[in-house]
């Protein structure tokens, strides 16, 4: 006896199928009239035969096959030659196996003479029952008998509704297909664009908006200047373009440690070539040299007694740069470096890292050039943005030439170096050590405060900061720079300088309060570099007096600045005063709009006492403690 799993009740249970018989709507063709007539006898016979149901194996097989057909599309041939097509629904298994179809239609009408006319209409499909005596044969295509049990099979083809698991878990052997490249068939005519649209030369005359408007009448509101810097098209356009191209070329031609950049620029990475695809193309950031240098830097700092840097670059954020200017020692340098790094932007961090690395290595930096370069680097770093530096570098490049390339971000270093050479002369005047100030802010602050601070020896008042060096290096640094040429200018100094432009200083030193520290002013943006009158710096500094109180007891430090400006810490207000964009080392870099758009609401804060004022501006994310004495 075959084992058939029919416990759930066969879909073609007697009662059920009989019921179907009764409810059959009826058929149109004459041959079908017999269906109804034979309904009752079937019913009777069904009952009658139920008792004596044969249980032969062959019958079981038949029943099994019929069960497998449920839901299948079948064709039933009947005696008179007609062919009916429909979905197999049920059969009279206990009787004589009449067939019940759903959505059935007569495909070929054998009873009626064939008449082809244009007015032949197609009948709507409906359930049909074909009595056994009419039945000649049942045809079913693509039936799988033995695999019914496979779960995947049962959900085989549901063309209208498919759930993800069905689609993805097609158990029934969709084995690997032999893949052949696609060749366009005959009816794929209009695909000219497939042919390498990028091979053609760039058509400068093509204006997509024009075309769109012409074709579809769509008016575009696209304004390129909303998304990018407005180009000043004028007589200087050419020159500016040339400069820009030059810078671009230089940038792209730089050597870089970064794998991705190197690949982009076409350099074969000079390190080992055992890099797998993941390291080469992954976007995951791995440990960069810079972070690793932190540890080294401190230890090596002592080696460079240059001290200098008096924290000038003291990036406000780090606030660690509280060393007094007098402390021109490694520590200070270190501190400044730390601060610098802490407050510098990421780019400068990298640069600093390089510097530190260079400093650390101490090797190869034997050349005077290098050291000077380093120093200049530091100075150069202060500019907030790389491109600024680059621009400067370009200017100075010829002067300093490229120092010997270091393995680490040489380009940046050297560029900075070159730049710094010039910058040295420039910014150093700034009083420098300004724990609060950071980035360009420092420079600005410092420059303006030099009279106030006077901590550093007169040194260079040559405040001509095309590069906003953390002038913090101040004169002392400058002096030191001179003297320090032979040996590596403390990376600290460089670092501090470099840190000028970055917001984070991984090597930040412990912040020590400097009561006379100048307030911090967020560093400037690219535009600053473009053409900023010195005066603006000074202006800003006034306002920025109170800017960065990072960890300082405000009362003291702020004292002097209060006099000439209401103390309210509001970088935005400061920004308003000067046309440049300030980069808050801690906060996000605001676009030009921030500056231009005056924020009058901040002004009325002026009247508030410092405490309150500071409270208002907390959105800057600069933490500070105000202690009013």
């Amino acid at each position: 006896m075959q084992r058939m799993n029919l416990q759930q009740g066969r879909p073609f249970a007697n009662g059920y199928s009989s019921r179907r018989v009764d409810t059959v709507v009826g058929t149109r063709t004459e041959s079908k009239t017999q269906v109804r007539k034979s309904a009752s006898p079937n019913f009777v016979s069904t009952n009658g035969t139920r008792v004596g149901r044969p249980t032969s194996p062959s019958r079981d097989r038949l029943i099994y096959v019929l069960t497998c057909l449920v839901g299948h599309h079948v064709e039933v041939h009947v005696k008179n030659g007609s062919i009916i097509s429909g979905i197999f629904h049920a059969t009279n298994a206990d009787g004589d196996f009449e067939i019940v179809l759903k959505m059935a239609q007569v495909i070929k009408d054998g009873s009626v003479r064939e008449r082809k006319s244009d007015h032949d209409s197609i009948k709507k499909p409906q359930p049909m029952v074909i009595p056994a005596r009419e039945l000649v044969q049942v045809l079913a295509k693509d039936v799988s008998l033995s695999d019914e049990f496979t779960p995947g099979q049962s959900c085989e083809k549901r063309k209208d509704l498919m759930i993800d698991s069905v689609i993805s878990h097609s158990h029934h052997l969709e084995t690997e297909r032999e893949l052949a490249p696609w060749m366009p068939g005959e009816d794929d005519p209009e695909c000219p664009e497939l042919e390498n649209i990028f091979d053609g030369t760039f058509d400068r005359k093509w204006d997509q908006f024009e075309t769109n408007e012409a074709l579809f009448g769509v008016k575009s509101t696209f304004n390129e200047e909303l998304y990018t810097t407005k180009l000043e098209r004028g007589p200087q356009m050419r020159d500016l373009e040339k400069i820009a191209l030059k810078i671009a070329r230089e940038i792209e031609g730089e050597e870089t440690q970064d794998l991705h950049l190197a690949e982009e620029r076409g350099f074969s990475y000079h390190d080992d070539f055992n890099l797998d695809e993941e390291s080469r193309y992954s976007a995951v950031r791995r440990e960069v040299n810079g972070s690793g240098l932190r540890e080294n830097e401190n230890s090596d700092m002592e080696a460079y007694g240059s001290g200098i840097i008096a924290g000038s670059l003291g990036l406000a954020t780090s606030g660690s740069c509280s060393d007094s200017l007098s402390k021109k020692n490694g520590n200070e340098a270190q501190a400044s470096c730390n601060e610098t790094q802490a407050s510098s932007t990421s780019s400068s961090v990298v640069e600093e890292a390089c510097l530190y690395t260079l400093a650390d290595k101490g090797l190869g930096l034997s050349s005077v050039d290098v050291s000077s370069e380093l120093k200049s680097d530091c100075i150069a770093r202060s500019s907030s943005l790389e491109d600024e530096i680059r621009l400067d570098d370009n200017q100075i490049k010829d002067q300093g030439g490229k120092s010997e390339r270091m393995a680490i971000q040489d380009s940046q270093t050297s560029d900075d170096v070159n730049t710094s050479i010039k910058s040295e002369e420039v910014s150093i005047s700034a009083p420098l050590y300004d724990p609060s100030s950071s980035g360009q802010g420092n420079i600005i602050t410092e420059s303006s405060d030099s009279p106030v601070r006077g901590k550093l020896p007169a040194a260079s008042e040559s405040v001509d900061p095309p590069i906003r060096q953390g002038s913090s290096t101040s004169s002392s640094e400058y002096a030191h720079a001179e003297s320090n040429r032979p040996f590596l200018s403390p990376s600290t100094s460089c670092g501090s300088l470099s840190s000028e432009k970055s917001t984070l200083n991984p090597n930040a030193k412990e912040f020590k309060l400097n009561p006379n520290a100048k307030s911090f002013t967020p560093s400037s943006s690219v535009r600053l570099h473009a053409a900023i009158p010195d005066g603006s710096f000074y202006q800003a500094s006034n306002v920025n007096a109170v800017q960065h109180m990072h960890g300082l007891p405000m009362g003291v430090g702020v004292g002097p600045s209060f006099s000439h400006q209401p103390v309210f810490y509001n970088p935005q207000a400061a920004q308003i005063q000067s046309p440049q964009a300030y980069i808050n080392p801690n906060g996000p870099v605001y676009g030009q709009q921030m500056i231009v758009g005056q924020h009058p609401q901040f002004y009325y804060v002026q009247s508030y006492p410092p405490v309150l004022a500071l409270q208002f501006s907390n959105h800057r994310r600069i933490k500070y403690d105000l202690i009013i004495t």
Binding site: P11, R59, L62, M103, H119, K124, V136, Q137, D142, S146
Partner: protein
């Protein structure tokens, strides 16, 4: 009624049959139920794979047959399981599919109209409204489905339907005049 009637047709045998209706069949016997006189044949024995064409034939319509060879039982009686739930699901799916397809067929429309409808449905959303083809729910094309019969909708939609209709008609003429 001649020939195979009354014989015990063994399961697994490969036969070649001819029916009284003129069909010629070759296949392997899966089952034969004597009381109902139904012979279940699995066609395409040479074809690989689990899917075959199954034919249930009333044995009394066999005109003659030829015994070709004996092969083993195509079904393993010990492994015959039926997934009723799956079957029902399949049936529902088939019914759904059939209903969808049925809706595409106009009732009481000429076959020409139906072919026009089919052609339009390739690129436009169409459905029947009695004997009117409704395109994009706004443009109506009534008998005899000529460009003049395109009514309604926005001018743009109307023109588009006219164009497509024209194009399809031409294509139908080229394809098969008749």
């Amino acid at each position: 009624m001649e020939g195979g009637n009354g014989e015990e047709l063994a399961v697994g045998c490969v036969l070649s049959l001819r029916t009284t209706l003129g069909d010629e069949i070759e296949g392997q016997i899966i089952a034969y139920d004597r009381p109902s006189n139904i012979l279940v044949i699995q066609e395409g024995s040479s074809k690989a794979g689990p899917r075959r064409n199954i034919r249930l034939l009333k044995a009394n319509y066999i005109q003659d047959f030829t015994y070709l060879r004996k092969a083993e039982d195509p079904i393993d009686p010990n492994k015959c399981y039926i997934d009723l739930a799956g079957l029902q699901a399949r049936e529902e799916a088939s019914l759904r599919q059939a209903e969808i397809e049925a809706e595409r067929i106009g009732v009481g429309v000429t076959s020409e109209a139906q072919s026009i409808f089919d052609a339009l449905s390739k690129t436009l959303p169409v459905h029947w409204d009695k004997t009117v083809i409704v395109v994009m729910n706004e443009v109506r094309v009534s008998s005899p489905y000529l460009p003049e019969n395109v009514i309604g909708g926005t001018p743009a939609a109307n023109d588009r339907v006219k164009k497509v209709l024209d194009f399809e008609r031409k294509r139908l003429q080229v394809r098969g005049p008749g």
